[in-house]
Symmetry: D2
Subunit: 346 residues, 4 copies
């Protein structure tokens, strides 16, 4: 395989710098261009000293031509930016992986309701492939435009899918009690994510409704016959990286005994989904910096419910790592190329 020339739109956020961290060690990638409206002209390593000696590019102004030499572009911008760039990039034959939400929801009206803006290119939404390789691997292979899943939706879907695909639980009984590290809120000046406002504390947020709800329901509904009824409750964890989703569902057959092997079978060939041994309680640090989602399945005493625990690094399997996994698939590389490092423990 020859070199893949890669560009990044919006390289100053946490998903952008995480892409950089991963891509500098990727053996088939040549980092070609990184854009930022606010930091144009500035050396990347000046903003991110962790990349000193590893990245020698300066931030470019985001323009239609700056990515012309790229084979693929990652868009690591806020919601609503990628849809402005997508048509020109795709027209120029450049493949696009959007890490924001612009192309995740097939129902454009629903998207517009939750995201509060008009979609700039609804015609591309249908064409976009949802970048969850464990479900859409074949479509990703040939995709020009990949909608990289949200962080919460990745963990929640990977945890619920085997149960729904195998008709083991009532689709009307789902609860996803999800907890995310603060990097999930992005790199920005905001009182709500200030250290003294969040450290040594914990809270739920968006309980009435969160933007990831329609994305999760779309994914779960696609494998269920009956309507999905899902309560999705996000919480803010006082830690930097990590998502823990605690998933609940009511078993259709309370005597079902072999949920463990259902999960093991479902993910037997998946390099980045780790079904842990029975009785396990995965911690988020076990995937810190790695592209793995670890799952554990439990049957609590005295109840007919099943509990699935799912952990991932929100910036890796929940964002940049999964995006690189998608790139590997799109360019026919081994899916784990550049994604083999162990989690940083402790």
């Amino acid at each position: 395989m020859s070199e893949i020339r890669v560009g990044i739109i919006g390289g100053t956020g946490y998903t952008g710098v995480e892409l950089l961290r991963i891509l500098v060690s990727h053996p088939n990638v040549k980092l070609t261009c990184i854009s930022s409206r606010s930091e144009q002209g500035r050396p990347v390593h000046e903003l991110f000293p962790s990349l000193r000696g590893l990245v020698n590019l300066n931030f470019s102004a985001p323009s239609s031509t700056v990515f012309s030499e790229c084979d693929v572009v990652f868009s690591a911008t806020p919601n609503g930016v990628a849809m402005e760039h997508a048509p020109a990039l795709l027209d120029a034959g450049i493949r696009l992986i959007d890490l924001a939400a612009d192309f995740r929801i097939k129902d454009t009206a629903l998207w517009e309701k939750w995201y509060g803006m008009t979609h700039a290119c609804p015609q591309l939404v249908e064409e976009a492939v949802y970048g969850l390789p464990e479900v859409y691997r074949e479509q990703i292979r040939g995709a020009q435009l990949v909608a990289n899943p949200g962080c919460y939706p990745t963990a929640v879907q990977l945890g619920f899918l085997p149960l729904l695909e195998n008709r083991l639980v009532d689709p009307g009984s789902l609860i996803a009690d999800a907890k995310s590290g603060i990097s999930g809120a992005g790199r920005k000046a905001a009182l709500g994510t200030a250290y003294a406002e969040t450290a040594d504390s914990f809270k739920a947020y968006g309980v009435p409704g969160h933007r990831h709800l329609p994305e999760i329901k779309q994914g779960l509904q696609s494998v269920a016959t009956d309507p999905i009824d899902l309560v999705f409750t996000p919480h803010l964890l006082p830690l930097i990286r990590g998502i823990h989703a605690t998933l609940y569902a009511t078993l259709l057959d309370p005597s079902a005994t072999d949920l463990q092997s259902v999960f093991e079978h479902r993910y037997a060939d998946e390099r980045f989904v780790d079904v842990m041994p029975e009785g396990s309680h995965p911690d988020t640090r076990s995937v810190r910096g790695s592209n793995t989602c670890r799952l554990a399945i439990h049957r609590p005493v005295e109840t007919n419910r099943v509990v699935v625990l799912a952990v991932e690094d929100n910036l890796v399997k929940g964002a940049a790592g999964q995006a690189v996994q998608n790139m590997n698939i799109m360019f026919s590389l081994d899916e784990h190329t550049g994604l083999t490092g162990a989690a940083l423990f402790p």
Copy 2:
């Protein structure tokens, strides 16, 4: 009111030192005796420099006579210790508030199963009053022996009770996704609670079954007609103090609209239960160091479930503060005496 002479059995754990922190500012209390097997003879402030200048007692050996001058004794020991001391103390006319689990569960066989030991004085279990003032205030007033509730059970019960008492939810649909700060595990040398093993990480534990499950179910069942089916999932938060319980139940009548006022009415006269305005997301720091449990009630979109958020400081309303609240009731003081301080924010 004259002075209450107070003793503490086992003053070296976190609930013990928290009792000391509260009691040194209590206007009606004279700290008389603090025992510790491991630290006997040592000045209390040497172990806890935060109490320098405030507590001048030395730790005593725990013996049957050392508390003879006390009006009330708090037992802040591991499970299984208070039941050894209780008969002698009660015989001597000394009232006892046990912060451990020895007298919480009325079904002794059930207690012995979950706690893995034989109960030393089952005859006292029936007599003991469960020290949740919001339910058992009148019985606490005259109690000789109070079983102070567990930290998780306090938050979970306060959150579910109004829904169950008013027959608003299906008792077979309950889920308590609960998260606790690490001080809940006690003050001890253990790898599992080491900083480098828990900081910047998050995990569930005891998902198959946790000792607080039977205590919670006993409390909820007492106000429900149909059988309680509860999934209780504890998690370990990377913070020092604080419990956040996210409670789920299925509404019997999905068109029920006024859950907020049900809660406000239920706790209108409760000084230490704060029903927050609609739409609130209480954070644990809002009760750090205070005896308040804050609640918020939510109806998520597109579902027939209700979500209750409950926060408390596990060492205060979840342990030492509630114990002092119980003492105040037992000695006919204003219930909030010594418990009026604001939470430490930030």
Copy 3:
């Protein structure tokens, strides 16, 4: 003593809310007025849920008349605001305690250089009393205008003063390696104090020169004959509250043996300065939420230097607590009134 009517200018920052936390438990204080330009009209407890049920005031617009009923006003604003309000308040016979830097430095030109603004009322600078009770108690008693010391300067001065007053160290050899929790940076939206930018990390800042340097040098020089040469290096700790100053000086007489008793003698009558036993290493949590500064004195092996460790809560003894201590002195109350609570441990 009758009630003291208290106002607060700028009650939305961390020193403001900490004043509120302390003052709601102060037996001689009536909170009369709290101003905030940005939050006027809003209930205080809406911004700070930790004060629900304890503070029922709304934020007022800051105006010249709103404080007319007050006996004393605390100014908890950014630097440069108190000097605008001071003349009118003092003219109206209202005493003023400024928690910012406006009146701390006697050399106005020096102040203007470090703070980058023109002083609005240099005539009041001379009149202002520096509010470090351990040095200026008598002057504070009659002061109309108190310049409450900075957080770093409080710890550094309390640690160095006994050595300098007793001519035990070379004034040209001083180093203050100081570390502060993040609340010291104030309550504001800023990338530099975001959780994901500061947690699990540590760094120095302002090494070339920090605004607290001239304040510290002014205080130390006032008790030294030879010129003070001080390196002051602030660092940002990944914790909420707490300052730890590690102080170094070269002993004039390396055979000096009784530094411990020098410190114990100096602070024998000081309620809020705790000279710990020899060999101690105070931790910041031992003063979390309390008005105490703890000191420990060390003679490292194989050297002629002395090391003093000083810890305080930057928001209490380093700000709001010391301000209340000053108020107590100004109004002839017991100096510790409202300041007797134990530190929150753990």
Copy 4:
């Protein structure tokens, strides 16, 4: 280069698991054997889920023969263990890199005083090469036995060396105010490193004297003519990984202006020492998980002192990473093989 067969003695501590994390991605290494007395027979990935799918070895009992197939053995044990194994390993022609302190101090009597035990093979101490590549690269190349430096000594020496080698500072004026993350205390059950005892807090420890003092002084003295007088003050940071050393020295010539270029020149060819631009304040997270030590040089205002800031990851450049760097040198690999990953940010 053919494959290097690697063994690890004591693979259950933090330096052991960090060696594993690095070595599983090292292209020239075959992990052959990992011993542990307490965990023998247990799969490595059971103890460390972060290594699931990456390490398939079980822990072996530590015996004289188990490492016979290895080319090199890392000893990641507590102090005093490697010296028991060293003679047999070296006799068998196996090279040894000791990550503990057994062979760091040339003066055996001094070592025995600070470490409180009798040295088991003093004859090997002289032969051992101190594994600081930036000073001893040539000797490391041919070494059979490498004494990998301590975490603090690495940062402190790299920061002071250019100043001392160039006779720019008074060797009698040195202060190293050093702060370490809690992983530096090792993986063990201990109250002193419990989360609730260390989080949200900060303290100094070992101020009278710490075991790394003689190691640092030995290294600094070797490049100085006059006697080194050093105060070394370690502190415990509430974070997992990272050391920040703040180094102070008095300039012999206060008019010296080009310290920056002295450092840049000294480390121009050093891949793992990064001299940052003037005015920088490196944070520990900028090296989290990487083998880099970043330095910044400052001249504070109004003083004749110089301040050097040095950061490293105590488990990488301060332990396992440096050990692998030494292995690379010993086996004639590119020095950065397996050590090129970017720091984990945020």
